[in-house]
């Protein structure tokens, strides 16, 4: 392919994909009262304001707990399942793997609606608990998939050898297998974290007085106020995500697992 052609294609592509994000960053540095590009003067007031909005703080903590806790629980469930799927002749293996990966295919809004209708209302679960369960279910497929591929890349004769040498199966898992798939687990964790943290449709129906995830809070803030603080918050969050990914890539070669 022609060099100039390929260069212009890629430039246009990057402008289209990254440009809007840069505009948000620029708009968030505006000194004016409304979202605008080019920004009207430069100031950090909207960045500062983000930290003073109480609901942002609450929903940020909420989203953090969901993303970290939900992914952690999903790993507790997902790692053994992935191990069973890759190392054992599992009865109904196909069915099990379908069930745990289904949440990826079914639209999130339906999951949220289903939990609201049949968990929160009839069993008076709190919205917070329902959100936690929903986010865990949502992250589960990613953990199973990523960790499975780690297991599949790891030769099984190592643990068999360990067992032959007298280790228990459990001992072999913790001493031989786990250290070798640490990177895969961390990759699954980061992927799950980002997925859960940015998730909107699942949380749409699962919000109640004082209980909201950050993206939902941003949406409703945008609906009522058009100042650049949502842009500032978006920019900050993006920097956080990029930072996490950058570190992961640096130390783990994260992209191999996604």
């Amino acid at each position: 392919m022609n060099r100039t052609l390929s260069f212009s294609i890629l430039t246009a592509l990057i402008v289209f994909l990254i440009g809007p994000f840069l505009i948000i960053v620029a708009a968030s540095l505006s000194a004016g009262d409304t979202l605008a590009f080019p920004p009207q003067g430069l100031s950090l007031r909207w960045i500062v304001k983000v930290f003073t909005v109480e609901s942002f703080r609450d929903s940020f903590i909420m989203s953090m707990i969901l993303a970290v806790g939900g992914t952690f629980v999903a790993l507790l469930l997902g790692v053994p399942a992935a191990y069973a799927l890759s190392r054992y002749k599992l009865p109904f293996g196909e069915a099990v793997s379908t069930v745990v990966t289904l949440p990826i295919i079914v639209p999130g809004i339906i999951v949220g609606l289903a939990l609201l209708r049949y968990l929160v209302v009839p069993f008076s679960f709190s919205i917070g608990v329902a959100l936690f369960l929903a986010h865990t279910a949502l992250v589960l497929p990613y953990t199973v998939r990523v960790v499975s591929s780690s297991f599949n890349n790891l030769r099984s004769d190592m643990e068999e050898a360990a067992v032959l040498l007298g280790a228990t199966r459990l001992g072999a898992f913790f001493m031989v297998v786990l250290p070798n798939i640490r990177a895969g687990i961390l990759a699954a964790f980061i992927l799950g974290f980002v997925t859960s943290f940015n998730q909107v449709p699942v949380s749409l129906f699962l919000s109640g007085p004082g209980v909201r995830t950050l993206p939902i809070d941003m949406l409703s803030y945008m609906e009522t106020t058009y100042d650049p603080s949502v842009a500032a918050l978006s920019a900050l969050l993006a920097l956080m995500s990029i930072g996490i990914i950058f570190l992961a890539e640096r130390f783990l070669g994260f992209s191999r697992y996604v």
């Binding site: 009262d33 409304t34 979202l35 605008a36 909005v53 109480e54 903590i61 707990i65 970290v68 806790g69 952690f72 629980v73 609201l116 209302v121 008076s124 709190s126 917070g128 608990v129 936690f132 109640g208 007085p209 004082g210 209980v211 409703s220 609906e223 009522t224 106020t225 058009y226």
Partner: protein, 340 residues
């Protein structure tokens, strides 16, 4: 570290239950509009006075009604505000309780129209507002509601969606301007439907209008006067239209949710909100026009509000009962004539 995080999250998930044991919590559901101002002016002073915690949910009136109905068996909200039509609907559906006005020390200070707006004892008005047209004075002239439909303007107009509080009243005024006023709003909808592709959007949240005006996406939109403070702050020539049909009027009312365990506290909050100092403060911040007749504001503030019985009497009200009786028909008609 994982264990700590897990423990923290379990603690946090339960803390909702714990908090309520420690201190009383009042959960209210209100409009999302200018919550920061409300927090400073109303919520924090009330929390200080009652020594309780206020949890605020926001949304528009119809969404609140739907949510209240969905949670009928286990209500999470103690006190809510509604448009008159939605307040009546909530009462008819058995979602609200009678308000014991003897416990509202400020009740007698209210204008008569706010005391029991639906005549069922289930709601108390806390603000009255007019719905009119804000427009770019440099781009157009607006003398009648029908002007919004003109070919040269429609392209720059946003109208309220039928599901908003402004939807019915605005279509009613358009019908009036076209000389085809009828409670089914059929003619007005047909006229709007004819131009549906031209209108910029049918807004669902009036708070969106500030951005649309600022970006010059629109030149004009009918809106509740409570949006005016935000709009008039923009650095653009925008005026409030003096149409020959006048403005539409509506009221927002407080209700007590049936089955709430905090009705005493909810009544205290209502009383606090209706008190003369509070209503004056909110009026002076140009947020909501007072329902308390003891409120006295300076003339330059008064003209920016829907202030006093004389102004109220000139507005065109669409009775709550009419709205309720026709609402489903409106929605069906809207979906065929306008939305598609």
């Amino acid at each position: 570290m994982h264990k700590k995080v897990l423990a923290a999250s379990v603690f946090w998930l339960m803390s909702g239950a714990l908090a309520s044991a420690e201190e009383q919590t009042l959960t209210i559901s209100v409009y999302g509009f200018v919550q920061e101002e409300f927090t400073e002016a109303l919520y924090k002073p009330f929390e200080a006075e009652c020594g309780c915690k206020l949890v605020v949910e926001t949304g528009n009136s119809i969404e609140r009604l739907a949510k209240l109905e969905a949670n009928k068996d286990a209500p999470v909200i103690d006190m809510a505000v509604f448009s008159l039509a939605d307040a009546l609907s909530a009462a008819r559906k058995g979602l609200t309780d009678k308000i014991d006005t003897a416990k509202l020390s400020n009740y007698d200070k209210l204008y008569d129209f706010a005391k029991d707006p639906n005549g069922d004892g289930m709601s108390v008005g806390y603000t009255i507002y007019k719905t009119g047209i804000a427009y770019r004075t440099d781009k157009m002239t607006v003398e009648s509601w029908a002007d919004l439909l003109k070919d040269e303007y429609a392209d720059h107009v946003a109208l309220p969606n039928i599901t908003t509080n402004q939807g019915g009243p605005v279509l009613n005024m358009i019908g009036k301007a076209l000389g085809k006023e009828s409670p089914d709003l059929k003619e007005a909808m047909a006229a709007v439907g004819e131009k549906r592709d031209a209108f910029v959007t049918f807004y669902v949240k009036s708070s969106q209008l500030v951005q649309l005006m600022q970006q010059e996406e629109i030149w004009a939109a009918p809106m509740g006067h409570f949006s005016w403070a935000g709009i008039s702050k923009l650095d653009l020539p925008i005026g409030w239209a003096a149409t020959k049909e006048g403005d539409a009027g509506d009221m927002n009312a407080m209700v007590l949710v049936k089955g709430s365990k905090n009705q005493e506290l909810a009544l205290k909050f209502m009383d606090f909100w209706l008190s003369t100092p509070m209503q004056t403060k909110i009026a002076e911040m140009l947020i909501d026009s007072p329902a308390n007749k003891e409120v006295v504001v300076a003339p330059e503030i008064a003209e920016k509000l829907t202030y006093g019985a004389d102004v109220a009497n000139k507005l065109t009200f669409l009775p709550a009962a009419t709205t309720l009786d026709y609402r489903e028909k409106w929605l069906a008609e809207w979906n065929t004539a306008v939305a598609q």
